[in-house]
Symmetry: C2
Subunit: 349 residues, 2 copies
């Protein structure tokens, strides 16, 4: 047993240039705080009042088609619209603003409300991946950043149980994209290899933090994970964007996503909540630039800590000083070893 | 009405060198997501089973004194302990760890469980401030960073209703401290005046984002606020640390805290949840260095958005791309103008 597994220490996140405080011994503390209520599990396959279901009418009066797999539409309450005016220049350094323009889309994964990605078939998951790549091509042709993300579960602010994700494209590189771009660029410069390509190789060799893997993909609890059950999904080949994935890699991705998410669901035998999203090389004007330092990856950030009802609160110390976790990534792997990734113990209803 | 008040835009946070996406029009979207349960409001003044009350026995067998105002003890389940071993050198750049050492203390504000800071008398709040300064002297004599923070309310991960805060001292500068230090240092270098000193002067002149103020202090919704009702508490004089506050400034601080927190409670007529904490010049070895760029301040981060039950979720887009808010700081001031800061509409029980 290494020192790290029993004593508090800091770990460096090379993708964000930050540190996380790892307090391996904190899982023992009693919990008398907030307990989350169980997710509503009685979702009907089709709800005539749900604006995401096929054939239903949305807030703006539009009627959804009778779709069979994925379905994409414009968010009816977008945080980004295409035509916001420029707030103007000549600003004081303490009162700086900039124009923000973009689009927000919603993408349904499946016509049924009572499935989730891990409960879908591989061909249906591949259709989701293909649609992601298609959206990256369309929106990425002009917008520098296209953020695909899924908020799953009420605990993660999701207000509709129908399986869906969101795609927000913006005329600016968001903070996290800028930071990750800088870190990957500097790593390549200093070490001669893309950061995440080298990282995937080393994790594949060490097999200490691997959750699931196949010929083309690797899902690990990263060495620097912040959320208790955080994972990082990585291709083994150097791939800069979702659009560059081969047909075989898309099949492999569908399969590893299904296994990873099945494992999550089986951990506490619930439909596991999380926020996830894709990071890849920027697009729009950046398509013409060298982006060799980038490696495509997805982050999964699940909020739970001990059980279906007890979450990790990222609050006072975390907001004001530094993120802190209560068990090591290696302890998570140990915990997860007995959890199956191949069939659902947890099933809807 | 300025352009900013109706159109989405980005605002720059000079303390963190990041941007926030402000979508002024998002408050209109309907909410069918998670609704928080009302905080338990039946807290007895003294609970024989609460380890924070005077005279009770804690987890480690120690008996609390029969304290009359504040009471400080070591956290029984600390994230930081003083003697963790060093994980060792010669590490790969992708697997870096460092020793983390420190102490975690809990500080009760008052012997009664059924009060909160805004419901306490000014002399009792001054005792809290004096004790904060005392802890900064003690722990700050050796530790470079002493983080005083309060998680208030179950929604903010607080597991004990007794009024208290925490003090975590570490042998390292946490991420947020490092970032704030860098931003303030660079601002002074470029603009010749400490960032927050200049900012407080400008906000005091403009009076557009001021929530409450007195001769020595200012509480504003910062121009770059991320959380809907976030505030920044600033001294008017250049003060680097809590320990440097004069007796008059401590009185003024007690008074402005009481007014700010009363206003928070009155907004939705509940005991308003938040995480708050103090940032000041680093201590320990830094006590000997020039820290002129630093200005003492407190951040208040409340989670609520629309009502006592509907919070702002900082999830998918915020975690993976950039923080986003649904109303402008100026709209918050407008909303808050009719809310009294001088007496509690909301009262415990
Ligand atoms: O120490 P407490 O109050 O038990 O714990 C609370 O505050 C800590 C510091 O912000 C967090 O790490 C915990 O997740 C939270 O539940
Ligand atoms: O767009 P939705 O699903 O209504 O909203 C959810 O996701 C957004 C993007 O992460 C967040 O800004 C909201 O706070 C959250 O409730």
């Amino acid at each position: 047993l290494r020192l790290e597994s029993c004593h508090q220490h800091l770990r460096y996140n090379p993708l964000r240039d930050t540190w996380v405080l790892v307090s391996a011994h904190r899982m023992k503390r009693p919990w008398s705080g907030q307990v989350e209520k169980e997710e509503e599990d009685q979702v009907p396959q089709h709800d005539p009042n749900n604006p995401l279901c096929p054939g239903n009418t949305r807030a703006n009066g539009e009627v959804n088609p009778d779709y069979n797999n994925t379905f994409v539409f414009e968010n009816d309450f977008p945080a980004l619209q295409p035509n916001a005016p420029d707030p103007g220049y000549n600003q004081h350094p303490l009162f700086q603003s900039k124009a923000a323009r973009g689009v927000c889309k919603v993408m349904c994964f499946h016509p049924w409300s009572d499935v989730t990605l891990p409960l879908m078939t591989l061909p249906d998951i591949i259709k989701v991946i293909d649609k992601w790549a298609e959206l990256m091509v369309d929106l990425g042709s002009t917008y520098p950043w296209v953020q695909i993300f899924e908020n799953k579960g009420a605990m993660m602010g999701c207000s509709n149980p129908h399986p869906h994700c969101q795609v927000w494209a913006s005329n600016f590189l968001p903070n996290e994209a800028t930071l990750s771009d800088r870190c990957q660029r500097e790593y390549l410069k200093t070490h001669g290899e893309p950061l995440l390509l080298q990282y995937a190789k080393m994790e594949a060799e060490r097999q200490e933090r691997v959750v699931v893997q196949n010929a083309d993909w690797l899902a690990v609890v990263p060495y620097w994970a912040t959320w208790p059950f955080q994972t990082l999904l990585l291709p083994r080949r150097h791939v800069q964007r979702l659009t560059n994935l081969t047909a075989q890699e898309r099949e492999g991705l569908a399969s590893i996503m299904k296994r990873l998410l099945t494992k999550y669901d089986n951990l506490f035998q619930i439909s596991f909540p999380y926020s996830m999203g894709w990071h890849g090389a920027p697009t729009g004007p950046y398509l013409k630039e060298d982006q060799f330092h980038w490696q495509l990856h997805a982050h999964y950030y699940p909020p739970l800590l001990r059980s279906a009802g007890v979450r990790k609160f990222m609050v006072g110390y975390e907001m004001l000083a530094q993120e802190q976790r209560d068990l090591t990534p290696e302890q998570v792997i140990h915990l997860g070893n007995s959890i199956t990734a191949t069939y659902a113990i947890y099933k809807h209803r």
